[in-house]
């Protein structure tokens, strides 16, 4: 078994705008099961960060507990990281974000970490529109404790041991939509052409960007009858749109057929390019997203792609009207401007 990855890389790899090659965004070799969907998501994160020329020190990766929450070790070794308590990643991220609004926050969680023990934290992070990317690596089971059904396992999905799941699933994307999350997407670990641009767009979104990524557990939930196996997802996947993310200052190069295409400008000037595949769906109309989601589900299909985006998102700092400068950089002079300033404030109340 290899415990280390060779340090060699392809000699002709291109550097991105900030001078790094893709390998510079990788982490140590994964200790997850061979073929785990989570590793593909890690790969997509690496690819996305390389492509947007992220300076690694500008990102903090946070996680809770579980297979999913181990993954930050396997990507972005040169970024900040915090592996928190089970289900508590959102509150740690909230604190970090409040203290330093300059970083990009990438929260990584699993279906157990989010839909069970961390549900209370998850919904409040949505409610506050905390500026972060929240990725759920969703495999419908507790892989780390030998594959019991999780709260996102679909009703009737067959476990590896052979029993049907008697409980209704929590649809995390549906829940996020219900709670007015400002960016909701769903993807599949086996589809990087969709996942990579979606991660890039989520990072550019100012507010809570939720990505529910179906990520098959090869060891415990890749059996016949499971609704989260590689083959089931591939057979039942459908997409709202062909999706591309165009960073600020870059030309749009892909032409989509007229009428079906849409272009959404994000806060920082970057754009999302869509070629709609789903009828009666509008990415900025929350009701149409909810309807599409339910319609697909009723047909036994898995709807992926960007589901909803609020282009007027105002994140928690905006709601709290905090200063532009990160709070952790405020000096004593700025925080205690002196008695003269106090006099002025007091005078304003007289």
């Amino acid at each position: 078994m290899s415990y280390d990855k060779p340090k060699f890389h392809h000699p002709l790899l291109k550097k991105n705008k900030v001078g790094y090659i893709k390998t510079d965004y990788e982490g140590v070799i994964s200790t997850l099961c061979a073929g785990c969907g989570h590793d593909s998501i890690s790969g997509a994160i690496v690819q996305a960060c390389y492509e947007i020329s992220l300076e690694p020190h500008r990102l903090a990766k946070l996680s809770g507990i579980g297979c999913s929450s181990k993954t930050p070790t396997y990507f972005l070794s040169n970024s900040h990281g915090f592996n928190s308590v089970h289900g508590r990643m959102p509150s740690i991220t909230t604190g970090a974000n409040m203290a330093n609004r300059d970083l990009i926050y990438l929260g990584v969680s699993g279906d157990g970490d989010t839909a069970s023990i961390g549900m209370g934290q998850f919904v409040h992070a949505i409610r506050r529109n905390l500026n972060m990317v929240y990725i759920v690596m969703n495999n419908g089971c507790y892989g780390l404790t030998k594959g019991q059904d999780s709260a996102t396992a679909d009703f009737g999905s067959v476990s590896k041991a052979g029993s049907d799941n008697p409980y209704q699933a929590i649809d995390l994307a549906g829940l996020a939509l219900e709670l007015n999350a400002t960016f909701v997407g769903r993807s599949f670990s086996g589809d990087k052409t969709q996942l990579v641009p979606m991660i890039k767009a989520a990072m550019a979104h100012p507010g809570f960007a939720f990505l529910d990524v179906i990520s098959p557990c090869v060891t415990f939930n890749n059996n016949a009858g499971s609704t989260k196996s590689y083959s089931h997802v591939r057979e039942h996947i459908e997409s709202t749109s062909i999706f591309d993310f165009v960073p600020k200052e870059e030309e749009i190069t892909i032409d989509y057929p007229e009428g079906e295409s849409a272009e959404l400008e994000l806060f920082d000037g970057s754009k999302i390019q869509l070629s709609k595949l789903a009828p009666d769906w509008n990415p900025t109309d929350r009701f149409s997203a909810v309807n599409r989601l339910h319609a697909s589900k009723a047909r036994g299909q898995i709807l992926t792609g960007l589901l909803y985006i609020n282009t007027d998102s105002k994140d928690l700092h905006g709601k709290l009207n905090t200063v532009d400068k990160p709070l952790n950089k405020l000096t004593q002079e700025e925080l205690c401007p002196g008695s003269e300033a106090l006099e002025k404030v007091n005078a304003s109340f007289r």
């Binding site: 060779p6 061979a34 073929g35 086996g190």
Partner: protein
């Protein structure tokens, strides 16, 4: 593109770059692993089977394998394959009992081998176990040919050569030494079933510039000079020596001169340094011995004073290259240079020469007096006469001569059995999984950044005193192990099974050099533009799978694959497996059966 046919024996052979580049196709990674395991005897026998002279070649090979080595594509320098071969030869145990044991039952066929060099000796070794009666003719008193006359003892100790020549001669070869064959007609009149000509390219080129006739007493031809030194007919030279030429013979001449009394030894080459034919390491070794190498200076005249050589006048040129790469040397207009010399050695090339073959025997000769041969069978236009080594297609090197020997031996055996010479036996190939457990392989698959190790040299003050003191000392066991660990095990192939793949991307994600891409199929040229990493090395194949359930194909660029096995380790369904590919070129005799090696 069509799916790759991995059943074609040449596909995976090509991936083992070193072996593929070797004229004799020695299974290099196989013996390097054995060296790392301190199984020197077996490593030696693998070499012996394939290249016949491991001890000789471990010191003197032209090393076509090294520029081909994959490590040279991901790191500065290739694995020191040649020096590792020497580690096996230096540390081996008793090997003679592992070789075919005579006496062999005679098969009634008689073969004459003209010339006692590597080509003839290889033919002899390949045919002796089959019961052929082999008669080896050579003008010198010992066998070895150019290996003995042209390679100085400080690069190849005589006892190393003797040992390996004798392994063959001891197989019951009838030797006719001190016998210069003067007439092919006479040989053909004897009752030989086949005559094999391995007489090399024995004629050194002369350079008859003005003053040559007068200075002749102090002008020597390089290959003759080296032969005379080897047989101790020459044991001294003047203090000031000029060597003309930029090949390996020139390097051997200058270094030999340094040991026979030469103090100011200068090599003068008419072409730029980068065009010199000498191997880089031989140039380095010469310069380490304070030999000056001057470039861009063609000789113009031998200067004679009082009937004795005084020196040589050189012009000055620069090289210009046409678009097709053709070089022209253009005088720079600078004044000529005079260099003093007591002796001049001319080492500007050598040619084939067959003054002893009558031209009315049915053996046709083509351009440059080179015999007309079938490129596969080495048969001449006279069916019972075969050629090999430098005598066949002009000057090459030892390992090429050995390869020729193997091919010719097969032809001769087919010929003597009245079979079709084009009906060549196929190579022996074997593809075996190296899996020992879920993530365990039989080979050491971790690949570290690890620059090439330096080989120690004998102190100059000692080695220059005696031409028989070997300069390069070889790796000791410890360094040999480290160097062996640099081998990427390119013979352990990444084998892909399309119907097992679930397209989880794990291999793509983990591959350190981004070799693997899953994408839609296309034409090669266009495909190469949309792989995960640039695939610009067109000499390296793309390995393409059948169509997968998502209508994509797996494409692996073989170019910089480290053979680290991570794709197979991270594959949940064993669609990837690491399988060792053994490729042995066909031989007349299965030497493996007597040797204990590499079964």
């Amino acid at each position: 593109m069509k799916p790759t046919n991995i059943n074609d024996p040449e596909y995976f052979h090509k991936v083992v770059d070193c072996q593929y580049a070797c004229p004799a196709h020695t299974p290099v990674p196989e013996y390097i692993r054995l060296i790392a395991a301190q199984r020197y005897t077996e490593a030696y026998m693998i070499n012996w089977e394939s290249n016949v002279f491991p001890g000789v070649l471990g010191r003197t090979c032209d090393r076509p394998c090294e520029p081909a080595c994959r490590r040279g594509r991901v790191e500065e320098e290739p694995v020191a394959i040649c020096r590792l071969k020497r580690v096996a030869a230096d540390n081996k145990g008793e090997v003679k009992s592992l070789m075919p044991q005579g006496p062999f039952t005679p098969n009634g066929k008689k073969i004459a081998l003209i010339g006692g060099g590597p080509a003839s000796l290889t033919v002899a070794r390949d045919l002796a176990p089959l019961g052929y009666e082999l008669h080896l003719y050579d003008e010198w008193k010992k066998g070895g040919g150019m290996m003995r006359t042209q390679i100085p003892a400080f690069r190849l100790p005589e006892e190393v050569l003797d040992e390996e020549v004798n392994y063959i001669l001891d197989m019951g070869i009838h030797t006719h030494f001190n016998t210069y064959v003067e007439s092919m007609k006479e040989i053909l009149e004897k009752d030989y079933d086949v005559v094999f000509v391995g007489t090399g390219a024995p004629r050194g080129r002369a350079l008859k510039l003005p003053g040559y006739e007068e200075a002749k007493a102090n002008i020597q031809i390089g290959i003759e000079y080296l032969a005379n030194v080897a047989f101790e007919h020459t044991d001294k030279i003047g203090e000031k020596v000029i060597v003309l030429g930029g090949g390996n013979t020139a390097m051997d001449c200058c270094r030999t001169s340094k040991r026979l009394g030469g103090k100011d030894v200068t090599v003068v080459v008419r072409s730029p340094r980068k065009d010199m034919k000498a191997s880089p390491w031989e140039i380095e070794d010469a310069e380490r011995e304070d030999i000056v190498i001057l470039n861009n200076m063609p000789p113009k005249e031998f200067v004679v004073e009082n009937g004795k050589l005084k020196g040589v006048i050189f012009g000055k040129v620069r090289a210009e290259y046409a678009e097709n790469g053709k070089r022209t040397l253009i005088p720079t207009g600078e004044p000529d240079v005079f260099i003093e010399a007591d002796d001049v050695i001319i080492a500007i090339g050598q040619d084939n020469a067959f003054p002893w073959i009558e031209r009315d025997l049915g053996i046709e000769f083509g351009k440059w007096d080179i015999p007309v041969l079938d490129k596969t069978t080495f048969q001449s236009t006279l069916p019972k006469v075969f050629f090999g080594g430098d005598a066949a297609f002009g000057p090459e090197n030892v390992i090429t001569a050995v390869a020729h020997g193997h091919h010719a031996a097969i032809s001769i055996d087919l010929f003597c059995n009245e079979k079709n010479l084009m009906d060549r036996p196929p190579p022996m190939t074997n593809l075996v999984s190296q899996k020992m457990g879920i993530h365990e392989w039989t080979y050491d698959n971790y690949i570290a950044i690890d620059p090439r190790y330096q080989v120690p040299h004998e102190d100059k003050s000692i080695s220059l005193k005696d031409r028989k003191i070997e300069v390069e000392l070889g790796f000791d066991e410890k360094v040999g192990f480290k160097e062996a660990q640099r081998c990427l095990n390119c013979d352990v192939q990444t084998v892909f099974e399309t119907n097992l793949c679930i397209e989880c991307d794990a291999c793509t994600d983990v591959c350190p050099t981004d070799c693997i891409t899953f994408t839609k199929n296309g034409e090669e040229e266009e495909l190469r533009t949309r792989l995960n990493a640039p695939a610009l090395n067109l000499s390296q194949d793309l390995y393409i799978s059948d169509v997968l359930p998502t209508k994509r194909v797996m494409i692996k660029d073989e170019d910089v694959c480290l053979h680290c096995g991570l794709c197979a380790e991270r594959c949940p369904t064993a669609a990837w497996d690491m399988k060792k590919y053994l490729y042995n070129t066909p031989k007349t005799y299965n030497f493996n059966e007597t040797g204990s090696c590499c079964k």
